[in-house]
């Protein structure tokens, strides 16, 4: 009897293990949902982070079939804490990657053969946020304060701004390494915290203000916007493989098609922000709904209007980014790059071709007006 009882338990345990093993095989669906039709060219796009509305245009292009219309079977690969998209691209494991310009320039200098082919975000989304009661309204006001930053190459706009205001980042401010979330600001450990206007800034507005009992409002906060300060650097851009751009005619052709679909995706996100946010939620069902709608709206503001056409790399903004990358020193005294990037660092050739092919669409968004988004507690 003893043995048969053990046997039953053993079988149950083995069955449980097998079921777990099987669930591991099935519970992670492949990120692409498009059918594998023989005529479509497989293309992989590497993101910097998990699925969220920061990438609304790409997900909209996937969901609305814009990639398929161009004959592309696109797989969007999400990022992670240790995934560096421009390295994945340079390794040949993705055909295109989304990356911030300064970080990608640093990777280029380290030998990554990549080229900026479309500057989707025309403006920087980085803010330095403080509570109104701290009285910090300008960069000069950061003097003597605890200033949060994320490090890892996210800090150079802040350092350039502090230096421009006539302060020394090493002695005039106390720099504090900051977490993902904004709890250090709300707890008072940090006087001015770094925040992306489409993400962490919204998280503050989703938090109940203990003084008033309702959610924080923009009126409770002071914001330093590096775009106004003149120390903004270009952020989300589409990067491609430099070698293949110069030598592979099929890749050149595919790049124009890819960018056409990307442009249509971002136009969709601009004209249908609610639907675009829903598409993002489809790919990231654990995210907050009101938070993603806010993010879609804020990201649209970074993209639109694009006076030269969406994705065109503005020479002045590029020069400003390169200038700061060359000269702004962080606490260790290092700069993003040590020499000006060569001519292959960016090209408007492919995005211009894509724009020319889409003349019938509104690719500048001159009349773009953002919507009003009501954030819920916790971003739900």
């Amino acid at each position: 009897m003893r043995h048969s009882k053990r046997l039953v338990l053993g079988i149950a345990a083995a069955a449980a293990t097998a079921a777990l093993a099987l669930s591991g095989c099935t519970a992670t669906p492949s990120p692409t949902e498009s059918a594998t039709s023989g005529a479509l060219t497989p293309v992989t796009l590497q993101l910097q982070w998990f699925a969220q509305a920061q990438f609304a245009g790409y997900y909209a292009a996937l969901d609305q079939g814009y990639f398929k219309d161009e004959g592309l079977d696109v797989t969007i690969v999400e990022g992670g804490v240790d995934i560096v998209p421009q390295t994945v691209l340079a390794d040949g494991q993705a055909d295109y990657a989304i990356a911030w310009v300064p970080k990608a320039l640093a990777s280029r200098e380290a030998g990554a053969g990549i080229t900026d082919i479309a500057q989707i975000y025309q403006r920087s989304g980085t803010l330095q946020v403080s509570l109104k009661k701290s009285g910090i309204t300008t960069t000069a006001g950061l003097k003597g304060k605890n200033v949060g930053n994320w490090g890892f190459g996210n800090e150079f706009e802040l350092f350039a701004g502090i230096t421009k205001a006539g302060l020394d980042p090493a002695t005039d401010v106390t720099l504090v390494q900051q977490n993902f979330d904004e709890s250090a600001l709300l707890a008072g450990d940090i006087d001015a915290a770094q925040a992306m206007r489409y993400n962490e800034y919204a998280q503050i507005l989703e938090t109940v203000n203990p003084d008033t009992g309702v959610l924080y409002t923009p009126a409770d906060l002071n914001v330093i916007d590096w775009n106004d300060d003149g120390t903004a650097m270009l952020q989300d851009a589409v990067w491609a493989n430099t070698d293949k751009l110069t030598s592979d005619a099929a890749y050149q052709d595919q790049t124009v098609k890819f960018l056409k679909a990307v442009i249509k995706g971002w136009i969709y996100a601009r004209d249908n922000p609610e639907d675009a946010a829903k598409i993002v939620l489809k790919y990231g069902p654990t995210l907050g709904a009101s938070h993603q709608l806010w993010q879609t709206n804020e990201v649209n503001k970074l993209v639109w209007p694009s006076p030269d056409g969406i994705g065109i790399i503005n020479a002045d903004a590029w020069a400003q980014t390169v200038d700061i990358a060359l000269h702004a020193k962080n606490l260790e005294g290092s700069t993003v790059i040590t020499a000006a990037p060569d001519d292959a660092a960016y090209t408007n050739e492919y995005i211009q071709k894509a724009l020319d092919a889409l003349k019938d669409l509104d690719t500048t968004g001159a009349g773009y007006t953002p919507i009003d988004v009501t954030l819920l507690e916790g971003g739900k």
């Binding site: 449980a16 992670t28 992670g80 240790d82 709300l186 938090t207 069902p285 654990t286």
Partner: protein
């Protein structure tokens, strides 16, 4: 009787933990306790320490306001199952590799002196350094229709942690028979394989079970860390990061995946214990790991 007592004591432990949490929250210093600029005790605000009831309430309510949104507990459970599956694959691979290495080291004394230091060295490589490399290698694997998935990289990382205790434990177990017992096998003219099968393998069970238990715990840790690192979709590691990001605006939510990860570890220990029950007749002289 002892079993009932163990259950009661276990439940009391959990209740005590909850009481301590709420008591500290109610009575502890609001600003926590800080010494030499290092926070030693946490703040008691709702942001840092949400009420247990709020955590429970958050776990039972939907993730977001989308119409088809699942409750948080279901999302966490599904993520745990996904991670458990990955960890199980990692443990299986790790156990096979670990046992194979142990056999190799048993058979060839030279292999033992050559491989064992490398095994120990292998465990000193930080996981977060390893994860992107394995993802990168995996991304190059295309064999016919087979395409490498991100979760497979996670399973490889889990197996990398899991194989070590199994290899070391199995080697100790396989070497545990006394010289007299081995000589008896020799006198029966039993070859090496027969000696392994009839003497060394049964003798290794008391060493193997704690080794596999350790390996299972390592596989779980490896899975969660690798999921955080590589952003592999569907697992509990990814969910921990995602929910921690809204830590300031929805603090109670962030505790659900943490509780899920704890329960997942307990469940794994339970499964290993169940397997061990079936091997009872070999366990006369089990040794602690």
């Amino acid at each position: 009787m002892t079993r009932l007592r163990a259950v009661i004591l276990g439940a009391l432990g959990i209740v005590l933990l909850g009481v301590l949490w709420e008591a500290y929250k109610a009575l502890g210093p609001a600003a926590g306790f800080e010494a030499f600029g290092i926070q030693l005790l946490p703040r008691t605000s709702d942001l840092a320490m949400p009420h247990l009831i709020d955590m429970l309430d958050r776990a039972l309510s939907p993730v977001n306001t989308a119409a088809d949104s699942q409750p948080v507990w279901l999302t966490v459970t599904l993520a745990c199952l996904s991670s458990l599956g990955t960890a199980a694959v990692g443990l299986a691979v790790g156990a096979v590799v670990g046992f194979g290495l142990a056999l190799l080291m048993l058979r060839f004394r030279i292999a033992e002196s050559a491989v064992l230091p490398w095994l120990i060295l292998s465990q000193t490589v930080p996981l977060i350094a390893l994860a992107p490399v394995i993802v990168s290698w995996g991304g190059r694997v295309h064999i016919g229709e087979f395409e490498w998935q991100r979760w497979m990289s996670v399973a490889v990382i889990a197996s990398y942690l899991a194989f070590f205790p199994v290899a070391v434990g199995a080697l100790r177990g396989l070497q545990s028979p006394l010289a007299a017992q081995v000589e008896l096998m020799h006198s029966f003219a039993a070859g090496w394989w027969r000696t392994v099968l009839h003497l060394r393998l049964p003798a290794s069970v008391p060493y193997l079970i704690p080794a596999v238990r350790l390996g299972a715990a390592s596989a779980i840790i490896g899975t969660v860390v690798a999921e955080v690192s590589t952003g592999a979709k569907g697992g509990i590691g990814r969910l921990i990061i995602e929910y921690a990001q809204s830590g300031s605006s929805d603090p109670a939510k962030a505790f659900s995946p943490i509780a899920g990860a704890v329960l997942m570890g307990l469940a794994t220990a339970g499964v290993v214990a169940l397997v061990a029950l079936t091997l009872g007749r070999f366990r006369s002289n089990e040794v602690p790991a």
